[in-house]
Structures are given as structure tokens and as C-alpha cells.
């Protein structure tokens, strides 16, 4: 589904990613771990197509197409979804309105008709129930005045409504208490599907107690310094990141 080859990224004259190679197949869950500042968010933003990054080398293909040639919306229409580390507030625009605009934008590009308004609301409401979100959030402005945990849940709600094929979650676990973490993880697990892949970006291993990854990659200083199975996350939990960074430096 996704193939990243020798990806080098520069931001404001500074090399952030220095040769990333990663292949992700449908149905897989990949965790990307690493210390703060290692480039995890940068990689997530690159996948989503955010401006301001200079790709100096490498390529990314998605379902056989050149992802880097696609605009932000085109990627979304093709099934890329980024759950933001810091979800953005959009004052005056209600959650339900944005969800509807987003879903209809995607459907339009698949040549599908707009959803019936009643069916749409009913389906959104049932998804909110699963995420233990009050229906009143539908009519509140997008993320405005939401707590950190509410924002993260809202990201998962959007993801479950839009049904993307590649879900990139950037530190979705940060800022969640243990109950919320469980609710959000259950929400993500419900979306696991043979046709869908997940990239879980996280600093901590605790998310992986709830969502069992197929692969764990450690990102340090702009490179994947180690890859392994779910057990690698536990090793990191025990030993921290420094042994990997040291190894790399030596």
C-alpha cells in the first residue's frame, strides 16, 4: 500500500529526515517510536502533504501512485488520514458541518452521491456513542474549547466517519487519561480491517498495550535505527531510547 524509499526531508535549511525506508501493507499496524524531536511528526506531515518541507531525496508511493505529486486534498480523497498531534480549532464551523463537508468532498471524488442527511447524522451519532462522546459535540465549533482528550477523540470520530485506508495517528495517546486511552484504542481497534493500514506514532509504549502492532520502528535522528515486532516496544520501555541513539552515534 505504502512504500517510502530513501526519504530525505529538510526544514528551514536543517535536515530532519535522513533516509527513511518503510513498507506498509494493507491490514498492518506499524508503530513508529522515538525520542522527542526525532522527526516523527515531520514524517506524518510529509505523508499528509503539508507545505513547508523540502524533499531533497527519495520517493513515496501509495497504491502504486506517486504520493509526493498529489495535493493535500487528493491524498485525503485517496484514503490518507492524519490524526493530528495538535488538532486545529476552526471557530464558527460546527463539527457536524465539517464532517459532512469532508465526507461529501471524498464521496464526490469517488463519484458517489452525497449521503442522505438523516442517515448521515444517525451514523455519526452511533459512532459518537462508541467513543463515549456527547451528541452536543456535533454542534460545537470544531475543536474550539475542547479539552486535549476531547480533541483526540474528535480525531478518531472523524477517522471513523471518513473511513480512510491509511490512518496516520500522531501521538494520539498523549494527553489522554487511562479511561480515555482505552476508549480511543477501542475506537481504533474497531477500525482495523484487512484493507486498512495504521501508522501509530507514539513516544510511549502504553498505547501499544491496547493496540498490538505488527511492527515497531524506532526513529532517531531522522533515521529508522531499529525495526522489530511488538516485543521491541517492551524493550524500549525497559531501556529507553538512549542505547539506540548511542549505537547510532558510535
Amino acid at each position: 500500500m505504502l512504500k517510502i524509499e530513501n526519504l530525505h526531508v529538510r526544514v528551514e535549511g536543517k535536515d530532519i529526515l535522513k533516509g527513511i525506508n518503510l513498507e506498509i501493507n494493507a491490514g498492518e499496524v506499524h508503530a513508529i517510536m522515538g525520542p522527542n524531536g526525532s522527526g516523527k511528526s515531520t514524517l506524518s506531515y510529509i505523508l499528509a502533504g503539508r507545505e513547508g518541507y523540502e524533499i531533497t531525496q527519495g520517493s513515496i508511493s501509495f497504491h502504486g501512485k506517486d504520493l509526493l505529486e498529489m495535493s493535500v486534498e487528493e491524498r485525503a480523497w485517496a484514503g490518507v488520514f492524519l490524526a493530528f498531534q495538535y488538532p486545529v480549532e476552526v471557530p464558527g464551523v460546527s463539527n457536524i458541518y465539517m464532517l459532512k463537508a469532508a465526507l461529501n468532498g471524498i464521496r464526490k471524488h469517488k463519484g458517489e452521491p452525497e449521503l442522505d442527511a438523516m442517515d448521515f447524522i444517525a451514523s455519526v451519532k452511533s459512532k459518537m456513542k462508541d467513543l463515549d462522546m456527547d451528541e452536543k459535540f456535533l454542534y460545537r465549533a470544531v475543536n474550539e474549547g475542547f479539552s486535549g482528550g476531547e480533541k483526540k477523540r474528535n480525531e478518531i470520530l472523524q477517522m471513523s466517519v471518513l473511513e480512510p485506508t491509511l490512518c496516520v495517528l500522531d501521538e494520539t495517546d498523549s494527553g489522554l487519561d487511562i479511561d480515555a486511552l482505552k476508549i480511543v484504542s477501542d475506537g481504533i481497534n474497531r477500525l482495523r480491517d484487512p484493507a486498512r493500514a495504521f501508522v501509530l506514532v507514539t513516544h510511549y509504549q502504553r498505547l501499544l498495550d491496547y493496540i498490538k502492532p505488527d511492527f515497531v520502528h524506532v526513529l532517531a535522528n531522522g533515521k529508522i535505527v531499529k525495526s522489530g515486532g511488538a516485543e521491541l516496544a517492551l524493550e524500549l520501555e525497559d531501556q529507553g531510547y538512549s542505547w539506540l541513539e548511542d549505537k547510532k552515534a558510535s
Binding site: 499528509a48 507545505e51 486545529v88 480549532e89 464551523v93 465539517m98 469532508a102 468532498g105 442527511a117 471518513l162
Partner: protein
Amino acid sequence: MSASNENIKDMIGQQYKDGFVTDVESDSFAAGLNEDVIRALSAIKKEPEFLLEWRLEAYRHWLTMEHPEWAFVEFPKIDFQEISYYSAPKSMADGPQSLDEVDPKLIDTYNKLGIPLEEQMRLAGVAVDAVFDSVSVATTFKEKLYEAGVIFCSFSEAVKEHPELIKQYLGTVVSQYDNFYAALNAAVFSDGSFVYIPKGVRCPMELSTYFRINAANTGQFERTLIVAEEGSHVSYLEGCTAPMRDENQLHAAVVELVILKDAEIKYSTVQNWYPGDENGLGGIYNFVTKRAECRGDNAKVSWTQVETGSAITWKYPSVILRGDHSVGEFYSVALTNNYQQADTGTKMIHLGKNTSSTIISKGISAGHGQNTYRGLVKIGRKAENARNFTQCDSLLMGDQCGAHTFPYIETKQPSATIEHEASTSKISEDQLFYCMQRGISAEDAVSMIVNGFCKEVFKELPMEFAVEAQALLGISLEGSVG
């Protein structure tokens, strides 16, 4: 400039859609202004003596006045002798008695603008007075309204049919000496709308006036007077467009609202005069005096305006809160793009006890646009427990434009409560990226964000106008679910 800024520019810089010219033969006065012009105008309108005198008083006073320079707008000096003060389609000279007798070209003009004048074509809930240059072409649903006791007709007709009402109310809110452009308007106003809602009547339909400037080199000086008697209620809408021309044209209107005890007027404007081209050439100078007076207790008035057009907008729809417990509201969206300039706001003059006012102003500046909010909240000595809430928000797109805020507060009453909030923001790249990542196209994302910014104002507009206003900003309706 980044791609998303380009998107914003494209979005806002949409083509002006109503810029066509109607090819009709017109009777126009030669350019120039003197007492004979005013006498000739008054004679064409077969006005009573008192009105001619009133015009001449205004004119003589105007001659002594200096052009005001305090607004935050810049334009070359206007030569008032170069303007023609009257222009009307020839076909209107014999005063057509019904729509069948009106020149089809005129009816077609309004059809093109989306304002069909045939009653069966209209949305059932709205009556329209269509003003073309200096005359009213037609007023729909007059009879039906008359059955309810409501008078809705052109100003000229009101002068003929209801001179006693005109005499009683004309100039009582905005006097013929009030300010430079109001005095000029009083001297040369040609037409406009008149509304009278009798005691206890809730007007059965929305009333609206559609102003169209067509002729070149003419000024449009209309005058609107609305009187809401005790316990009555009316919602009134106003729309405006003009052809695209390289010369600037002057539009100097006066609107007076009289609201008696327990009565309410909701006055909404969607102003889309030709704004000039992307280099600032041409466009309408929109210099307007609008004022409402709450004369009785519990009277209520709200001004809602969406100002997207005009090269220069200079207006302050105001409220004199004389009656105790009276309420004034001002909701405004003003958008300036390219080289447009707007200096707009309101005055809330609290005289009665327990009066309250709300001001919500949303300024959007793009291109080289300059957008100024100027507002006065004045609390008189006797206005115990008066309250005002003001919120002024500015949204900037790009770095060539400007937003300015001048809130003035004068209070002589210690029990008054005055709150003021202000913010300036930009459409952030983060917001755009977030929306686009969700599959919303750049244009839709910009319009969604701008729409969200204006939401508190749009929700005050009658449904039909809200749709038009959002379309004007290139915005698809934030639907019934929102």
C-alpha cells in the same frame, strides 16, 4: 506567496456578477446642481410645496457645509457639478399603472438579478420595491399588504398618497441638516421606499427594496422611511447592485426608522454595489446615513448588514435608544478586497433607562483592502443601568491589507455596563491544512472558515438573504444541521 494564499485570493476575488448594463432610453438631467435643478426634480415628482421648501432649506444649508474628512478613506475630491441628479427610463415617464405596462427590459433586468417582479414568480413571503436609478419601477404585493393595513410603496407615491405621514415623520430622525451627505440627499433625493406598519400589526410578509444603479454619471440618492407604530413588527431587506464602469459613481442614501412603544424593526442589507476592478478603478462611493430612533418603551431595532461591494463604504447605521428598556442591535460583515475601503460601524445613543445595545462587527480584509470599524457608545445622564456589549473581530488575508478599530465610549451614567471585545486573526495555514487533510477543497475550506468567522452575523439574516450573503462571499451554506 504560498499556494493557500493564492487560494484565498482566487476565492475572494471572484468576478462581479451583476455588472451588466440595461440598454434603455433615459430622461436624465444635465450634470449640475443648483436651486433650479431641485425645483425641476420636485416638479417632475409633482411634490407638495412643503417638500420643495424642505429640499431648498437642505440645499442652502449644504452650501455652507464642508466636506467631512475624518473617515479612514481616501478618494479624489468629488465635483458635485459633474453629477446628474436625476435619471429615469423614458418608459417610466407616464407612470405605468401595472407591471404589464412596465418596459420588459426593466423587468428583465430584475429577472437577471434574481428578483422576479411578477408576484406569482416571487417567493410568497417577500414583497419587493424595485428602484432603478432615480425611480421605483414596481412594488409587488401592495394590495395584499394594504389589506393588513401596511403601507409599502415608493417614496414618491407616499408623498402623493400619504403626504400627512411624510410631513409628520420625514427628517425627524435624520434632519435635512444632519451631515454633509444627508443634507445633499435631502436636497436631491429622487426615490426610495416608504413603509408604515399600523398599531399592533405584524407585517404578514418580509418587505424588501432592491436598488439598481444603471445610468452612467448619475448619482443615486434614495431615501427610505419606515414607521413602526406601537406594538407592530416588520422585517425589511435591502439589496443593491450596479454595472461595472471605470468611473466612480456616488450613492448617498438616507434611511430613517421610527419605532414606537413595543414595536420592532429588523433591517437587513446585502450591499453589493460594483466594487471597482482589481486595480481600484471604478466602483461606487457608498456614503450613507442610516439611523433608527426607538421612541417608545420596549422598542427594538436591529441593523444587520453584509457589505461586500462599493469602492468606498462609509456608513454607521445608528440607534437612538430613547424609550426605557429599548434595545438596539448592530450586526455587520464588511469585506474589502483589492483596493476597496470601508469605514463602517454604528452609534448607540442610550437615553432611556435600562436600554441595551449589542454590536457585533466582523471585518474581512484581503488584497489591498482597508477595513475600519468605527463605533460610538454614548450613555446619557438619565440612562440608568444602560448596557452595551461590543465585539469587533477582524480577519486578515495576506499582508497588504489593513484592519483598524476605533471604538469611542462616552458615558455620563455611572451605573452603565459597557463591555468591549476585539480580536484580529488571519486564516491560518494550519486551519487550511487541517480542513484540506479531511478532503475539503481549498476553496471550500476558505469559504467554510470565513463563513464560520461571520456566523454570528449571518444567523441574524432572514434565510433567503443569508443564502445570498454566503454566496456573495463564495460560501456554501453552513446547512440547517449546523
